[in-house]
Symmetry: C2
Subunit: 235 residues, 2 copies
């Protein structure tokens, strides 16, 4: 949508345009630093007209966040086809692409600003986490996840968030490396849980049975075994 469009837009079309313009501005600089004047200028309309569609910056921010949240939740959707490791890797690729596109806004949001104090904002973040959780569980093929599996999946979703936030602070590690690392982290967290709980071990063995032996999970264990000085096989 270019600015300076001459024809008159309908109400909903104008709202959607403003949301898109605002989301781009909120994504590329800390939302606290973005003014309504800038949004109006970028949309090619007057400041009062922005207020005609949105009563204030918070409501426009929330609408932009709603769109971002829906888009982010979408990126966790993945066809139920092929090995699990490859599916997770595709999901992580789309997740990091989102983080890359919306860096400053993602950081500001997850670090508690600028709409802090809005329970609606927190609820939207929780919705995305829940959608991600449900997607991953559905790929594991577990109808009623036991508490330990729920913990592994939810804490892994949180790990993906914090890894992305730490990455954004300087981008000192290649993105693709972290996408693959998070797939391995999932296997590692599940394996730790499985190492001490029979039910989790059963679930993990079933998951790994469908993985190719040269897939990320099998490869990881081979590499780990090579790192440890102790006797992993004979001990």
């Amino acid at each position: 949508m270019t600015t300076g469009v001459r024809r008159r837009m309908g109400v909903e079309e104008r709202r959607q345009q403003l949301i898109g313009v605002a989301l781009e501005l909120f994504s590329n600089r800390s939302p606290d630093d973005v003014s309504i004047d800038e949004i109006a200028a970028a949309a090619g309309i007057s400041r009062p007209l922005v207020y005609h569609y949105f009563p204030g910056k918070l409501s426009l921010y929330e609408a932009a966040l709603r769109r971002a949240a829906d888009e982010l939740a979408d990126r966790f959707r993945e066809p139920h086809e092929g090995p699990l490791g490859a599916r997770l890797l595709r999901v992580m690729g789309r997740f990091f692409a989102f983080v890359d596109d919306h860096g400053p806004g993602f950081s500001a949001l997850m670090r508690g600003g600028p709409a802090v104090g809005s329970s609606r904002t927190n609820a939207m973040i929780d919705e995305v986490r829940q959608a991600a959780y449900e997607q991953i569980v559905s790929h594991l093929g577990i109808a009623a996840p036991p508490a330990r599996l729920e913990l592994v999946v939810r804490s892994w979703v949180s790990l993906a968030e914090s890894t992305a936030l730490i990455w954004l602070d300087g981008r000192r590690i290649p993105r693709a490396e972290l996408e693959l690392q998070l797939v391995h982290d999932f296997a590692a967290l599940a394996a730790v849980s499985a190492a001490y709980d029979a039910e989790m071990a059963g679930i993990l063995v079933r998951i790994l049975a469908d993985e190719p032996s040269d897939g990320p999970f099998g490869e990881l264990v081979g590499r780990l075994a090579g790192l440890v000085p102790g006797p992993p096989a004979g001990g």
Copy 2:
């Protein structure tokens, strides 16, 4: 400190008493649900006298949070003695004891309430994370952590937070199991990073060289090797 103390307290003593009373109330119920009247009643003083020491609930909440933050940061301090796995396990024991004692307040705080909007609150949380990060790094004996090690330690601190929050929601897994699991998670996250980066592999090998072969790290790898159907040794 019992209520109804007859003698007059000094200003600082009274402030400290109010902070203690408030922290206990804020810890055991969501801070949003705790009123100044309750705090006054629990401290055995009048509501106006509470306002004499603290201008409002937010300032008392922030003072209580300051005390809690200092206490939590303290719990990450650990003597530099003995195997690393055992040190981390003691730290996790103290961390979960804190979470156990301050459950509802800890949840409310980390989920963005009730002092959301206060940048001082967020800064205090970040201070605790930073203190935990620096403690762990000091135990690893690394003067200038490379980016990948920093990521492992910071993301593990975040994993400990999210594991504690998920645990608080129903407490369906024994606390001691999660304390041990987080020690293993640390090893697992470090190992994943080491599996693909030579510098991290060097650091991990050095750490593991000081671990007893029957310690949590060695034990974990042995158990993992037994779980995976592929050929970890003969590959």
